[in-house]
Each structure stands twice: as structure tokens, then as C-alpha cells.
């Protein structure tokens, strides 16, 4: 692990616009998991009327309601070059729900409005016939993007969105949906995975519920040369993850049984 000259800068982008579903939790988890390992880290909040700087190590784009998402889209677009430059220069990006939709080429809202995204990922989002709401389980893609530690174990989260996201043919999903809706476009995936990039529909927030995913993001910026982070026992988080996996599979079993009964008449 290379020694860093300065604290890891965890950027929480537009918390007043993209913070509807506890998204601040993702930032808190990243900061604390650094500090608990003795790695200096700081939380940098980018307010909605400020340009997004290119000096952050992690960019967090969270979920938001329709009007705030519209405002956020304007701001992200205005700061697009800074974001793209920072990402190309080694920063990691976690984009969740509304924030995920805005890193694509465009997002078509249910009311017909079309928002231009920053085009960091080759994908588009269209309105679906209904909202996908509930617990989700995702089996992460076995991808080289994860780095030396490999993919994290199964992810759990809670989704609540009306958009359906279609990835470009060269883009990998974050993983395969085991329970829930995810991208909801029929391809069976959730989110997107790329070099130092995770996009997902999973709230919860996603990082407190999946500490290993948090550690992959940190590894990308703290140990980019393939090193590992020091171990950090997380028994509480793992108990929570196990509980959520159990609940989601029980729900899955229930829907399978109901579907079977319906099919039989």
C-alpha cells in the first residue's frame, strides 16, 4: 500500500438534492472505515450551488426526488469535465439510483422530461410501467475491475425507483439480480461496473449493508497498485447482511410458491 500524502477525500455530492434515502450513510461508512484503519479521511460536502471539484478521491451521487434530480442534473452537467477528469485520474465513483441514472447518457422521466446525463457510463434510463420497491439481492459480476480482492460477496439493499436502465453492449452490470428488480429492463442485472466505478439501484444505504463493497471502493483509491486494505472485523455489518439475505430469500420463496399455485390454477 502506497503512503498517501493527504487524507482520503470522500465527496458527498449535493446532499440536499441527492440525499433522500440516507445516502449520507455511504459517505459516513467510507470515512469511518478509513479512520478505523488509521488512514486519514475527510468528508467533503459539495453543496448544490457549488461547482463539483476535480480534487476528490471518491464521488458519491445519491438518490433524489424528481425536482431535486432535475437540479442535480444541471449541476452535474456543468461540472462534467471535472468529474470525468478526476475519475480518469484515479478517483472512484459510487452512483446510486437517481445519481446512477444521471451518469448515463440520458434519463427520461415519467412526466416526459428528458435529462441529459454526464455520459460517464454508456447507458440510458427510461420510465417503467410501475415503481420497483423492496428488498434486493445482487450477485456481483466476476470482473477484473474488482482488483486483487475479487468481487465482494452477495449484496443486499432496498430499491425504490420507476426508471428502467439499459446498459450499452460493452458495459457490465454490477451484478445479477437474485431477488428484486434492479435495472428492470429485462436483462436481469443491477447497476453498472467499470474501472473504479459502481452504479446501483441499491439503497439501504448500500455501503453500511455491504461493508466489503465499501472496502473495494476504498482499495481502488487507497491501494491502486493492487494492494489490500488492512483487515477490519465487521461482525455487526455481517450479521445485518446475513439477516437481509435470509429475509430476501424467504420473500423469493414465497413469490415462487405463489406463482406456482397461480400457474396450477
Amino acid at each position: 500500500m502506497s503512503a498517501r500524502a493527504s487524507a482520503v477525500r470522500i465527496g458527498l455530492v449535493y446532499p440536499e438534492l441527492l440525499g433522500t434515502y440516507g445516502d449520507r450513510g455511504n459517505a459516513i461508512v467510507l470515512v469511518e472505515r478509513c479512520r478505523w484503519r488509521g488512514i486519514p479521511a475527510e468528508l467533503v460536502e459539495v453543496r448544490a450551488d457549488e461547482p463539483i471539484p476535480d480534487s476528490l478521491d471518491v464521488y458519491l451521487f445519491g438518490g433524489g426526488e424528481d425536482d431535486p434530480q432535475l437540479m442535480a442534473a444541471d449541476g452535474m452537467l456543468a461540472s462534467r469535465e471535472a468529474i470525468v477528469r478526476a475519475h480518469a485520474g484515479g478517483a472512484a465513483v459510487l452512483a446510486v439510483c437517481a445519481g446512477f441514472q444521471l451518469v448515463g447518457h440520458r434519463y427520461e422521466a415519467a412526466d416526459g422530461a428528458v435529462l441529459e446525463g454526464i455520459g460517464l457510463i454508456d447507458m440510458i434510463t427510461r420510465p417503467g410501467p410501475d415503481r420497483l420497491i423492496g428488498e434486493v439481492v445482487v450477485e456481483p459480476s466476476a470482473s477484473a475491475y474488482w482488483g486483487a480482492s475479487g468481487p465482494p460477496p452477495r449484496l443486499t439493499g432496498f430499491e425504490n425507483h420507476g426508471g428502467r436502465t439499459t446498459l450499452g453492449s460493452d458495459v457490465e452490470p454490477l451484478g445479477r439480480v437474485i431477488a428484486g428488480g434492479g435495472n428492470g429492463d429485462g436483462a436481469g442485472g443491477d447497476g453498472a461496473l467499470a474501472e473504479r466505478f459502481v452504479g446501483t439501484y441499491l439503497h439501504g444505504p448500500v455501503l453500511p449493508r455491504n461493508p466489503e463493497l465499501a472496502d473495494r471502493l476504498l482499495e481502488w483509491v487507497v491501494a491502486p497498485t493492487g494492494g489490500r486494505l488492512p483487515e477490519l472485523p465487521s461482525p455487526l455489518e455481517e450479521s445485518l447482511r446475513a439477516e437481509r439475505l435470509r429475509v430476501a430469500s424467504a420473500g423469493r420463496l414465497r413469490s415462487w410458491y405463489q406463482a406456482r399455485r397461480l400457474a396450477r390454477g
Binding site: L17, D23, R24, H203
Partner: protein, 415 residues
């Protein structure tokens, strides 16, 4: 009640029987099921039952049950002086149409009905009930998984105000969503202040970012702004028509001063009750449908129960508890439909304030709470049962802050 039709009387009777059955079998308090049965048998029931009542509807994301109770207390106190004024109110917090019908059915004659109404239900009961006054407190995120977004609720309220420009509304001037919603009607504004601003970043009128100063909001883009209010809540009390009325409430917490201020202005401006009389009546209210009730822990201590339903409510509850240096706190959370099935709001609430307080994570979602407390660096015990958890806290002042179904389970068991 002579105008009630046979069908309505049948509906009321059947509904009451269902409610009694619910209470006897221990399934619930009976208000909701009894209302469902009534509505099923007689769809025009609400209009008929409300026909000889002066109807006041109270709605908000937070504080509607307490505001309703406080306003009813003021009306009852004033009414006892002029005989014949009867007040009915849905004091159990059953605030859907199913909860309103049994309340109206319980009226023994013409009078005033002070009704708490769920904020999603409000738009569709204003007309059937012939409401003459709305009391609107605040709107913030609540149960996003089933109720959707705050802006949408504000828009639906506004449609009511637009359809009834002469409708009297007493409304909080400090909440942009409420100001947007009430604006088109005949409004009496009360400036209560707004500490939870996380759901009011953008202008409800045009979507631009709102400018917030210490005590007001303005939209630079479209001119939408906080209206001037003659009535204001200050640290010293409530200023009503230039007079300052002290608020010496038995109910704890800053948020109950908001509720009382709103209720006093409604009582005074709409019903002509002197603010001092209203304030005195409200001061005596100690517990509202289980909110702030005290449960003996069996070891000489009592736990105070505080209901918190959403991030704004949780933040105020934590502020109240953290103000008391020795307070112990049980955070009891479920995630059933009535709690909201997504407990991600835990991360919108500053649990960091609990550092140094004896704390516990309880309820079905105690692991979500425990993980949150770990990252807030608050030492805690993890225990499913909130009462057992409360006993484990080394502190004389014990509080249980509970999500809705945790709260109602405690209320049913210990009322």
C-alpha cells in the same frame, strides 16, 4: 342525529360491532376496522355524519395527533362555559377515512369535530366533510416506499386550496411545502420556524434552489417566499396579535411548542377563544394517545415513550433526549408497512448526538440500528425487546424512542 338514514344507522351499528369484536379479541383498538365496515355499508356516510358538525381538519407529516388533541382541549375548555357546544375528536390517531367515521358517529349532537387526517387522505375528505377550517403543520419525507415524494403531497393539498379560495386555513409560514399548498386559500399564517430543511431544498413553485437564512426562505428565481406572519413562535412564547402568550406545556419537547402554537392560533383566530384560555387548556394535556406515556420498568424507574416516524421526527426526538445529559435511550425500530419498509432514514438522523448516553438498539430492525450506532461511535447494547433493553441502561432518565409499530405495541400493552 335525526337526519341519519336507515342505511347510515345500520352502517354505524355494524361498524361498532366490528370495533367491539376487534377490541375483545385483542386485535386492535377497533377504530379502523369499525370505520371500514361503516364505509363499506354506506359510501355517503362521511357527508351524512358530518352534516351537523363544524368540521376542522388537522394535517401534517409530524404532530397532527398532538395538535388535534390540543385544539380539542382548547375548544372543550371554552365550550364548557357556553353550554351545548360539543366537541368530538379522533384522539386515537386513527386518521384515515376509516378512523374518521366512527369519531363522527360518536357525536351526540351538533357541535365541533376536530379531526386529524392523514396527509394523503386530506384532499379527498375536505368536500364530503364540508370542512370549514384546515390546520396545516409541516410536510417532510415519510415512508417513501409507500407514500412517494413530498412535493407530490404538497401539490395535492394545493389543488384543494385552489378549488376552495374561501376556505379558512391556519398554516405554518415557515414550511415551503405548506406555504405552497395553502397559498391560494384564505390563510392565517403562523411562523413556527423550520429546523428540518432537508426536504425543502428546492422551490415547490419552480424547482430552483431555495435561499435559506436563519428564519426565512426565498426563491430568487420566481419570487416565491416565506409570507409575513402576524403570529410568531419565539423563545419567550407565542406572539398572537401582538400579545405574547407563554407556553407552559406538560408535554415535553420543542416540537410540542410548535403543535401548541398552531393550535392556539386556530382556536383564537377561528373560534375566538382567548389565547390565554387556549394555552391554559393545552398546558394540562400530559399524554396524547400514548405519546410521552411512562412505562414502569419494575425496578423503580419509568421509561418515557416517544413516537418518531420519520427523519424530521427522529431528529427532534434525539435533540430533546440529547439535551438531558444523563438520559438513556432505547432506539426501537421495526420496518413494517406502517413504519415504512425501508429504514434507510436511519442515516439521515444525527445519532452522533447520543455519544456518551447509555444506548440500546431494539426492535426487529435492531441490527440496522446497531450498525448505524457503530458508525456514529455510540456504544450500545443490542436487545430485541425495548423494555428489556431499557432495564439494561444504567441511567435514571430512560427514554424509548420508537417507530410506529414498536410504539403501538408498547401502547397496547401498557396503556
Amino acid at each position: 342525529m335525526s337526519r341519519r338514514t336507515v342505511r347510515t344507522r345500520l352502517a354505524v351499528g355494524a361498524g361498532r360491532a366490528a370495533g367491539l369484536a376487534s377490541r375483545l379479541t385483542g386485535r386492535g383498538q377497533g377504530a379502523t376496522i369499525s370505520g371500514r365496515v361503516m364505509n363499506l355499508i354506506s359510501p355517503d356516510l362521511l357527508a351524512e355524519l358530518a352534516a351537523d358538525q363544524q368540521v376542522v381538519l388537522v394535517s401534517a407529516t409530524n404532530g397532527k395527533t398532538t395538535t388535534t388533541r390540543l385544539l380539542a382541549a382548547a375548544l372543550e375548555a371554552a365550550g364548557s362555559e357556553e353550554a351545548g357546544r360539543l366537541v368530538v375528536s379522533n384522539s386515537t390517531g386513527a386518521n384515515l377515512t376509516s378512523g374518521i367515521a366512527p369519531t363522527l358517529a360518536s357525536a351526540s349532537g351538533p357541535g365541533t369535530a376536530v379531526l386529524e387526517v392523514d396527509e394523503r387522505v386530506l384532499p379527498r375528505v375536505v368536500d364530503p366533510l364540508g370542512a370549514e377550517l384546515l390546520v396545516l403543520g409541516n410536510l417532510s419525507r415519510d415512508q417513501l416506499d409507500r407514500y412517494g415524494e413530498v412535493h407530490a403531497v404538497g401539490d395535492k393539498w394545493r389543488a384543494v386550496a385552489e378549488a376552495h379560495p374561501d376556505l379558512a386555513i391556519v398554516a405554518n409560514a415557515s414550511d415551503p411545502h405548506v406555504v405552497w399548498a395553502a397559498g391560494p386559500a384564505r390563510v392565517t399564517w403562523v411562523a413556527l420556524g423550520l429546523r428540518w430543511r432537508q426536504d425543502a431544498a428546492t422551490c415547490p413553485s419552480c424547482g430552483a434552489l431555495l435561499d435559506w437564512s436563519a428564519d426565512r426562505f426565498d426563491c430568487r428565481a420566481c419570487g416565491f417566499a416565506q409570507p409575513d406572519a402576524v403570529h410568531r413562535l419565539t423563545d419567550d412564547g407565542l406572539i398572537v396579535d401582538g400579545r405574547t402568550v407563554a407556553l407552559d406545556l406538560a408535554l415535553p419537547g420543542e416540537w410540542n411548542r410548535y403543535n401548541a402554537a398552531l393550535a392556539i392560533v386556530a382556536a383564537s383566530t377561528h373560534f375566538g377563544i382567548p389565547p390565554e384560555v387556549a394555552a391554559a387548556a393545552m398546558a394540562a394535556v400530559r399524554s396524547v394517545a400514548g405519546r410521552f406515556m411512562r412505562i414502569p420498568l419494575g425496578d423503580g424507574r419509568d421509561a418515557t415513550v416517544i413516537l418518531a416516524k420519520n427523519p424530521a421526527g427522529w431528529t427532534e426526538a434525539l435533540r430533546h433526549v440529547a439535551d438531558h445529559a444523563d438520559a438513556g435511550v432505547v432506539i426501537a425500530v421495526n420496518a413494517h408497512i406502517a413504519d415504512g419498509k425501508d429504514p434507510s432514514w436511519l442515516w439521515d438522523v444525527p445519532y452522533e448526538w447520543l455519544a456518551g448516553h447509555p444506548s440500546a438498539a431494539a426492535g426487529e430492525r435492531r441490527l440496522d440500528v446497531a450498525v448505524r450506532l457503530r458508525y456514529a461511535e455510540v456504544e450500545h447494547v443490542v436487545e430485541p425487546d425495548p423494555i428489556v433493553a431499557a432495564r439494561a441502561l444504567a441511567s435514571d432518565d430512560v427514554n424509548i424512542i420508537a417507530s410506529y409499530t414498536q410504539f403501538s405495541a408498547l401502547y397496547r400493552k401498557h396503556r
